[in-house]
Symmetry: D3
Subunit: 134 residues, 6 copies
């Protein structure tokens, strides 16, 4: 059972990180540590399994992150979207691939998805700006 | 394919606009422009279709906005609720009609809808205050 | 507190009723009677309130049934869709009004709604055939 | 990693079992065996964890099954509801406790839950008839 | 029909109350008063019924609050989660019972629940700090 | 605007097609033709857009079908899952890729997804049997 903050997104502030990304990262790290420290067996195993699901396999990590992104978009979870957007950027997924994935999520999930699409693109642009500065 | 910010809610700050409404409007306009500028065909056609769905037809615009409002309430999307609340106010829907629509959404969607109902009514009151000042 | 089977859809088989509509109606009536007979105060009051929400008010019954229909479509509940489709037909809502309402539900809810849209239209056609035979 | 059919509901047909319960049980057992036999690590660990979550702990098994029931009801999954209804009956949960749990699910989830409530009560009555015959 | 702010969470600021809990409580109280004052019969009866559902019965209040908590978690409503977390703390539910309930919600609802789990635990820790200071 | 039955899954019965796949295909084709024949502009454009979203682009058709599959699984729509399972089989996606995609959907969506996972695998096995017979 891991007692870490569950790896990526990166554990340390990155130059050029937007306020939105920093707030997400810091709260996520702080609360993951807090929750795993409670030592509830079911919760800790679930967190571990969640990490496993996106590891390299028959499908590569990029494809798996896009699967996580589209699932998060149609379920309309902003924090989950942010997580997978950051992971896509870290893995070098192209902007076109991200937008095609978002377009499928929009068609599947409908206009109710649009507010989350706006925030997804805003986070993606944050990631591109970070990369440009590094 | 349109490259505008998709029409209403109004493109310019209105006297008496609450902070919540202004923040919603500005982010919506900025990100719609950003997203449409990416020229993803599927996304842009979807945005266009989303506008079409609420145009005058057999059902008038007021009724269609109430349909959009109740759908947004039971799906619990605050931004979508705000959008249709503003549109209802712009079209001159009465307060009683809005509350009857919200009451149906509450019964269909259950108590999980209540936090969104609170924010919906808060936005409606913002709109009434704006109208009183104009 | 009512101990009836909660009124419409009609309590007795109608000439020309399709197998799908008859099965829905009979199970609904049997189980509503069963559930209300348990005398759980919260459940019985909820059933009563559910009936109240669609009564004539500032909005007429036709509009309220369309609100119930679009909410049921985006939440993807086949039985709820069938109920409101039958009620729309009973109240004399036109086919165009029903399709415009379904089109808004489709845009709001996305392609995930399509299988339910198919069944909604199949039930509407059942209702039109019933009316043609009566 | 287990390769069994994940324990209860019972692995063998019970006297007095309704057609609905038998069909659910048989398909569940057949497909669980099929899926676990694929040896996908993430899926198999998830199935194992799913069993763990309902084991006796600070909260007893009865309470945990009621938690599973209300979660299944508000998420409107008939098979999940059937599973937890059967488990509640097996554990000796009283009818009043089941109906109070269902009443909370109805208020939280709204009228969209009612068709699932009807099927939940029908399954509960199946279980009571089974017990009366055994 | 009540015109109060619907009882607990407490009507007055408590020493040691976190900013998050205070903001939730104040907005909830203000808007409940506002909404109930509109005198929409269906909405007011729903609010009354919502209170009834959690009253002592065959199941005690603690168990009912845990049922409300798990339902709120799988439906991913932060305000509803906060409400039931506060109620659990007020009723003296233990931390272990809360975490076991959260673990069931996590397994039922999946990783999409994790961001809400983080905020749920943060609110629970707020409640424990409040109790330590009182 | 197309007036066809929207292309794949195949328009004609295939040797070895299971009863479940044939029933899905026939109802889908009949109702798509019926709905498109109503000539509701918004609905017809949506159907057209739905087809476009999965066309070859930066992401290939296989990847897009996996995106559609995981989105359908977490949203728990059996017909949508069947559609994308059939499409994956038609495009030659491997069984391992399908199971890895399903495993991500299971972790994201939780145990509530399991009944749909069972039916998804049952449909996949139908497709493999069809291929073995052709």
């Amino acid at each position: 059972m891991t007692d870490t903050t569950q790896g990526p997104p990166h554990d340390h502030a990155t130059p050029g990180e937007s306020a939105a990304l920093a707030e997400f990262r810091e709260f996520r790290e702080r609360m993951n540590t807090r929750i795993l420290g409670e030592n509830n067996l079911v919760i800790n195993r679930f967190f571990n399994l969640d990490g496993r699901a996106y590891e390299n396999g028959t499908l590569d990590v990029k494809t798996k992150e896009l699967l996580g992104l589209v699932a998060s978009l149609v379920l309309r979870c902003d924090d989950c979207i942010t997580y997978h957007i950051v992971r896509c950027a870290e893995e070098g997924v192209t902007r076109d691939a991200v937008f095609e994935t978002l377009s499928i999520g929009l068609v599947v999930g409908g206009s109710i998805v649009i507010p989350h699409l706006r925030r997804a693109v805003d986070r993606w642009d944050d990631c591109e700006r970070m990369r440009a500065q590094s």
